[in-house]
């Protein structure tokens, strides 16, 4: 008698487990873009299992997703990748009726230039590229041109990203960061080659520790990473260069190949909830595109000028755009020339 009850109990338990595991969703996101509680809460509320993996660059994600058979359901393309992915037929059109929390978005992101009707993407977090520097320097670098100054004695770094380095040089000319003009790109390249002997290195987020330790005095850096550095070393500050700078936003999208579209919609909606978005923004020190969530943030975060710059500062910002093949090829060639000079 007991044995039979036990066996039935085991069978019941396994059935319960499998019914949970049947509902699956596979999410592919940038690193450090989710709070510790986000996924477990989602799993509990919607009785499902989440497979979560991260990537370090949009190209990496694109390479895996391009086959149309990658197995992922939700991805987070940056703004300049949304249109290309749409053209490649990778994104599923979004049904706004199923995204009830869409109104929580900040007005700035309701009709973004890369997806005016939000038919394929929902803005998630935004950031900008500027200069993080130590306040011990005699003259704070408030413009890109300051990073060419001799006074930093090789304690300056730039990002190891051609788009960002070109953006800084082009803004100095001045020109658009998405410029495809041969002459402008050539001059930008020359500027970068002139800067190279003054640089310590081309580094991405790895330089964060060196900025905190004081090895590096000024670095071209993304605002979110800069904020983490500032949290750890209060003598640091962040500047939005006066000539202009790049801004970007990461968006969530559902892949057309997804076999779990219902859960994907639930997840997108879930991310748009003010409490959820606020938790992520708070823990990860990222800037959310969700206005309702921003209201829930602590005062210091909400008014943080690095993460949420004032609108006249933001007016100097420019969004990255996808570029035609010929321009990409020219830029890549110039980047190789800069790096091997």
């Amino acid at each position: 008698m007991n044995r039979r009850i036990f066996l039935m109990g085991v069978a019941g338990a396994t059935l319960g487990c499998t019914s949970n595991a049947d509902r699956r969703i596979n999410i592919y996101n940038w690193e450090n873009y989710i709070a510790a509680s986000t996924l477990p809460d989602f799993e509990r509320e919607f009785h499902c299992r989440v497979r979560y993996a991260t990537y370090g660059s949009a190209e990496e994600m694109l390479a895996k997703v391009m086959s149309g058979n990658s197995g992922w359901d939700v991805v987070f393309p940056s703004n300049s990748f949304v249109e290309p992915m749409r053209q490649l037929g990778l994104l599923a059109p979004l049904d706004h009726r199923r995204l009830t929390n869409l109104d929580n978005l900040d007005p700035l992101f309701r009709t973004p230039e890369w997806d005016p009707s939000l038919s394929f993407s929902v803005p998630y977090m935004h950031s900008a590229t500027g200069i993080v520097y130590s306040q011990s320097v005699s003259r704070p670098p408030l413009s890109w041109a300051d990073l060419w100054a001799d006074s930093y004695s090789r304690r300056v770094t730039m990002l190891d990203d051609p788009a960002e380095v070109f953006a800084a040089c082009l803004k100095r000319l001045p020109a658009s960061i998405n410029s495809g003009n041969d002459r402008e790109l050539e001059r930008a390249r020359d500027l970068a080659i002139r800067q190279k002997p003054l640089l310590r290195a081309y580094l991405n987020e790895e330089v964060r520790d060196q900025v905190v330790a004081g090895d590096v005095l000024a670095a071209q850096m993304w605002a979110q990473v800069a904020q983490v550095a500032i949290d750890n070393a209060p003598n640091l500050a962040f500047a939005f260069p006066s000539e202009g700078f790049a801004v970007y936003a990461d968006n969530c999208s559902i892949l057309r190949e997804s076999k779990h579209q219902d859960l994907a919609y639930e997840f997108l909606n879930y991310l748009l909830r003010p409490a959820v978005a606020a938790a992520i923004a708070n823990e990860m020190r990222s800037a959310t595109c969700n206005a309702a969530a921003r209201e829930l943030l602590p005062e210091t975060q909400r008014q943080n000028a690095v993460l949420y710059p004032h609108s006249d500062v933001l007016a100097r910002g420019e969004w990255f755009r996808p570029l035609p093949t010929a321009v990409q090829r020219l830029r890549d060639r110039y980047w190789t020339e800069i790096k091997s000079s």
């Binding site: 993996a53 990537y55 058979n69 197995g71 987020e205 905190v212």
Partner: protein
């Protein structure tokens, strides 16, 4: 001479373990950044609670073991056959597999798998990663085995066959025991190459087959990360204890 060798070797081991010592020290750092704040065991705790990380470690071990066994067997047999008689096609192919940059191999294998999957309802997964690892680690085994075989005295094998053994018996009872150190060295190399591979694995891994290097790269891209350091320190100490125990057992 002996003393010089010991001192030199000691210095070399120090060189090898210096970064490990550093990151082990920082695994106890209470700050997320590489400046010392205070002592803590928090990161070790969080590693144990990280289910995904443990899954990734298991995946990596499975892949490395499977690929090592397969590569070592296939490679030893092939090395022996190549020693007997050259085969330019195979040797050129092996050479080129060593030359190919990882990302090229990865992208090409991905294309191959995606095309092959059109004929069945297959997806990327552990099996594709294992196959990929076998393909690039085979050459390491063959090179090490051949290097050893070239210092081999063929008279040993001749003597055995003169005494009446057939080719297979000669191989099994004479050659293999003498090759054993080289086989172990090759297997070790294979395991190492496979366990820490990132580029090829990240391209051909499926949704469910994330490996440890993939997770570490994701966590550590921003710089020294205490959780990753804690995990690495645990792996090092764990494996270190394992090999110490194995060597004790072997001796007794």
């Amino acid at each position: 001479m002996r003393r010089f060798l010991s001192v030199y070797a000691g210095a070399a081991y120090l060189f090898l373990y210096l970064p490990l010592a550093v990151l082990s020290a920082f695994s106890f750092n209470s700050s997320k950044i590489a400046t010392w704040r205070g002592f803590t065991f928090d990161w070790y705790r969080s590693v144990f609670h990280n289910r995904a990380l443990l899954e990734g470690t298991v995946n990596s071990l499975i892949i490395a073991f499977a690929a090592t066994v397969a590569s070592t067997v296939i490679g030893t047999l092939a090395g022996y056959a190549l020693w007997k008689k050259r085969s330019p096609w195979l040797t050129n192919a092996l050479y080129m597999s060593l030359l190919a940059p990882e990302i090229v191999t990865g992208v090409a294998l991905l294309a191959l798998f995606q095309w092959a999957f059109r004929f069945g309802h297959l997806r990327l997964g552990l099996h594709t990663v294992i196959l990929a690892h076998i393909s690039f680690s085979l050459v390491y085994v063959v090179i090490v085995i051949l290097a050893r075989l070239r210092t081999f005295d063929p008279a040993l094998e001749e003597a055995a066959s003169d005494l009446g053994a057939n080719r297979w018996q000669v191989f099994r009872h004479v050659t293999i025991p003498l090759l054993l150190p080289a086989i172990l060295a090759a297997a070790l190399l294979c395991f190492t190459v496979s366990f820490d591979d990132y580029v090829i694995t990240s391209l051909v891994a499926g949704v469910d087959s994330e490996t440890l290097p993939m997770m570490i790269y994701a966590m550590a891209r921003k710089g020294v990360s205490p959780e990753v350091n804690a995990l690495s320190a645990m792996i090092t100490v764990g494996l270190g204890v394992l090999i110490l125990v194995a060597s004790r057992l072997e001796r007794s």
